[in-house]
């Protein structure tokens, strides 16, 4: 085999204080192969690719690239050896333009004018239209990813690493990305593809390596497995699917009428003419690509940002000008996307974190003073009911893993028995088993008669739990559609399709 393989990895190990991120990891990639790296959050995928890209030094083990020893000391060396990487969180500079961003990722960039010309050439060749003079801050997530990909392609990589590339794309943009990747693969470029979206991996990848707890637990050909089999290999056992029992809807609990709001940040969207009605017992899914107004919508509904009179009505009462605590008293609770720093204070204990939202609807105060005993009891109740893995309620919020903290944050709101609950990205970065339990909790809440709004970028999640679906695109909310019978293509078009790509999509469809 040696000599025919592009990248061979053997016995790779990396330990951090208190945790072994990778232990005895080994696999091989052939030229032109699309290889998937599968695993839950914390399985060690990111550490592994960081070692291949030279950002982290392995403690032990060997890597060979085209038969020669490969020990990149820094990303520069990795790039020189022909390894390029598209990051999960984009490594782009918003205030700089596309060409400048591309130049920063290259070893010896040509003069700007030549570079702009080459960017146009490459983007035409691979069907990724991009204007080199535009400021990156003005681009959509899909367009930003094109910047990263083109930056890699300009260096003729032999191996392209993609870390969760589709999490921010519309279905149409995913199709375009796959088209590009298949073309690259046909030209002999190997791709190491990291994702936990199993259907995508089945559609795209030739082979897969599955990681669990930092170790390789199996290799397989994804096409020959079902998504459920892959998921069980990742999790290492079976997990419950959500139970979506039939529910009946009651009276409207939240009505939003002609809501407009200016943007919160420089490159952020404004909310334009939002209308929605949420009934008791309904789960309303709001889908959309990140940055189309999700944060803004949650901030307005939760009361962080008051809106004009007569725009937000909770259970028949005008609430547009009320703050979060007054809305909590009326029964509207929320859980924002950012767990650390928005939903929870990182340096405070779990007990103290219950006090942040819980004092209105729970008896956690006595005569104006905090009742620490009651707060601790509530924290323990959340930990028990939502299976939060932590030594106890005295632990600081930042010490919890993302998934555990997410369960805690959602649990804190659900256990306060809200009449309206709004959550943003409830299962972002949460492993499959925990995600299923969070979704089940939201469904249970709805079946008890609460209205639930789930804002999410994970369309499969929305299709699984929501009764009705709205798309949020550039600050506008589409009218609701029942999720039953809705296809992914229809949703994709509701989400704005692919920016500037409609022609290509049409051609794809025609061919």
């Amino acid at each position: 085999m040696t000599g025919t393989m592009l990248l061979e990895i053997e016995g790779l190990r990396k330990a951090y204080p208190g945790v072994v991120a990778n232990d005895n990891v080994g696999f091989a990639i052939a030229p032109g192969e699309v290889h998937a790296l599968l695993g839950e959050n914390g399985a060690g995928k990111s550490t592994l690719v960081k070692m291949i890209y030279g950002l982290v030094k392995p403690d032990a083990g060997t890597m060979r690239l085209m038969g020669a020893a490969y020990e990149p000391a820094e990303p520069r060396a990795a790039r020189a050896a022909g390894v390029a990487m598209v990051f999960q969180h984009f490594s782009l500079f918003e205030a700089l333009n596309v060409a400048e961003n591309v130049a920063l990722g290259m070893e010896n960039p040509p003069p700007m004018r030549d570079l702009a010309r080459r960017i146009r050439e490459i983007s035409n060749t691979y069907g990724l239209p991009l204007d080199p003079d535009r400021t990156v801050g003005d681009l959509s997530a899909g367009e930003r990813q094109r910047v990263e990909i083109i930056r890699c392609l300009l260096q003729d990589p032999k191996l392209l690493i993609m870390d969760e590339p589709t999490s921010v794309l519309t279905p149409q943009e995913v199709e375009i990305l796959f088209h590009t990747l298949r073309k690259l693969s046909a030209e002999g470029t190997a791709i190491l593809y990291i994702s936990h979206k199993l259907e995508e991996i089945r559609a795209l990848c030739d082979s897969a390596t599955i990681l669990r707890g930092g170790k390789v637990v199996g290799h397989c050909t994804p096409r020959e497995k079902t998504a459920r089999e892959l998921a069980e290999m990742m999790v290492g056992g079976e997990f419950a699917m959500t139970d979506r029992a039939g529910r009946s809807f009651g009276n409207p609990v939240l009505v939003v009428k002609d809501l407009n709001l200016p943007p919160m940040s420089q490159f952020g969207p404004s909310l334009k003419g939002i209308n929605l009605t949420l009934r008791a017992g309904e789960v309303l899914g709001i889908g959309g690509v990140a940055g189309n107004g999700q944060e803004e919508l949650l901030a307005t509904l939760s009361g962080e940002r008051p809106s004009e009179d007569e725009t937000v009505v909770i259970k028949g009462q005008e609430a547009s000008r009320l703050g979060p605590n007054e809305r909590r008293a009326m029964g509207l609770l929320s859980a924002p996307e950012e767990r650390l720093g928005h939903a929870a204070v990182p340096a405070m204990s779990l007990t103290e974190n219950t006090l942040l939202t819980g004092t209105i609807r729970r008896p956690l105060m006595k005569k104006g003073f905090i009742d620490m005993g009651a707060a601790k009891g509530f924290a323990e109740e959340i930990i028990k009911a939502f299976d939060v893995r932590t030594p106890g309620p005295h632990v600081a919020a930042r010490a919890l893993s993302g998934g555990n903290l997410q369960k805690y944050v959602i649990g804190r709101e659900v256990l306060q028995a809200p009449d309206v609950l709004i959550v943003n990205q409830p299962t972002w970065g949460v492993d499959a088993a925990a995600a299923a339990s969070i979704r089940q909790a939201l469904l249970d809440l709805a079946s008890k008669g609460a209205g639930v709004i789930v804002i999410s970028q994970d369309l499969d999640e929305l299709m699984e739990i929501a009764d009705n679906f709205c798309a949020l695109y550039e600050g506008r909310l589409s009218p609701p559609r029942p999720t039953e019978g809705l296809t992914i293509d229809e949703i994709g078009l509701m989400l704005g399709g692919a920016h500037g790509m409609t022609d290509v999509v049409a051609e794809e469809a025609a061919s």
Partner: protein
């Protein structure tokens, strides 16, 4: 050419010398802030440059060596800031304020023996017949080398940021240190280099105060010029060409108020001395209000400490 008892040509010529210290300090701070570091110690670095340059010039008899030493003194103080904020990750605002207080105190101590001493003079450059051109001659060809050097420095800074790869990397580090790190750039090294340049410029500007502008050493002689330099960087929305305008505006009002005093206008001296500071701030606020994007042009990671997590 006089207007209301004020000689316009002299005014413009003095304006250029009066602006030079602030222009130098602001250009240096611009580079540091473009790399994402907010160094509030400009005043301290300037006054260290003033006393250091003065001491070196009187000891060696060479003003050029004095300027060089002034720049070194400013850079050394900037390195104290760099070690504290970049290596030990201390808070940049607090450290910068401390640096100013430290510089003011230390310079007063060092400067005790130099009060009343006259430094070796810095000659004006001789441009031959060019200096005899009416109006233009006295305005543009009657200065010492530092004035021209400061203008060249602004032009070089502008070109560095706009056209060079190193300038692009510097801006990238200031925009997103995490992304720059992920691409393999050495964030801390870039920032330390930018701070050293900022300190050297501030020290150079300070030396100009004590060696040419005044020229003698007095305690606390920078009199807030460092703070003005900081304000100019912000209101110039981090662009070198606007820093030049801001600095010359400040210098212009300084020169004007001195001439008004000399011409014997019945305006209280304190109001006149205050004028450069007040008017600079007012004009710059108006400018940034007109350019709505001005305030948002700050480097995105300005003032944030960088620590590589893995």
């Amino acid at each position: 050419m006089t207007l209301g008892g004020i000689d316009i040509i002299v005014l413009i010529a003095t304006l250029m010398t009066a602006s030079t210290p602030v222009l130098l300090a602001a250009t240096g701070e611009l580079i540091a802030e473009k790399a994402g570091v907010l160094n509030l110690g400009v005043e301290g670095m300037m006054i260290m440059g003033a006393v250091g340059g003065f001491a070196a010039a009187t000891a060696t008899g060479s003003p050029v060596l004095g300027f060089l030493f002034g720049a070194v003194a400013g850079a050394v103080l900037a390195m104290v800031f760099a070690i504290l904020t970049q290596v030990f990750l201390s808070n940049q605002t607090a450290t910068g304020l401390a640096l100013t207080l430290f510089g003011l105190g230390l310079s007063a101590l060092i400067g005790k023996g130099y009060e009343g001493v006259r430094p070796p003079p810095t000659a004006k450059l001789d441009f031959g017949p060019l200096g005899d051109i009416p109006v233009l001659g006295p305005i543009f060809f009657s200065h010492d080398w530092v004035v021209y050097a400061s203008l060249v420095l602004v032009a070089l800074t502008w070109a560095f940021l706009k056209f060079t790869r190193a300038g692009l990397v510097l801006r990238a580090v200031g925009e997103s240190h995490d992304a720059a790190h992920a691409l393999g750039y050495r964030v801390i090294a870039v920032r330390i280099a930018a701070l050293a340049f900022g300190g050297a410029c501030a020290g150079f500007g300070g030396a100009y105060l004590s060696l040419v502008r005044v020229p003698q050493w007095t305690e606390g002689m920078t009199a807030g010029a460092g703070w003005i330099a900081l304000a100019i960087v912000v209101f110039a929305s981090w662009r070198p060409e606007r820093v030049l305008i801001g600095a010359y505006l400040f210098g212009g009002i300084t020169a004007l108020q001195l001439q008004l005093q000399a011409a014997g206008y019945a305006i209280p001296v304190h109001l006149l001395s205050m004028a450069p500071y007040v008017i600079t701030i007012v004009v710059l606020v108006l400018l940034s209000a007109l350019h709505r994007h001005g305030a948002q042009a700050a480097p995105a990671d300005l003032g944030r400490s960088f620590h590589a997590s893995s």
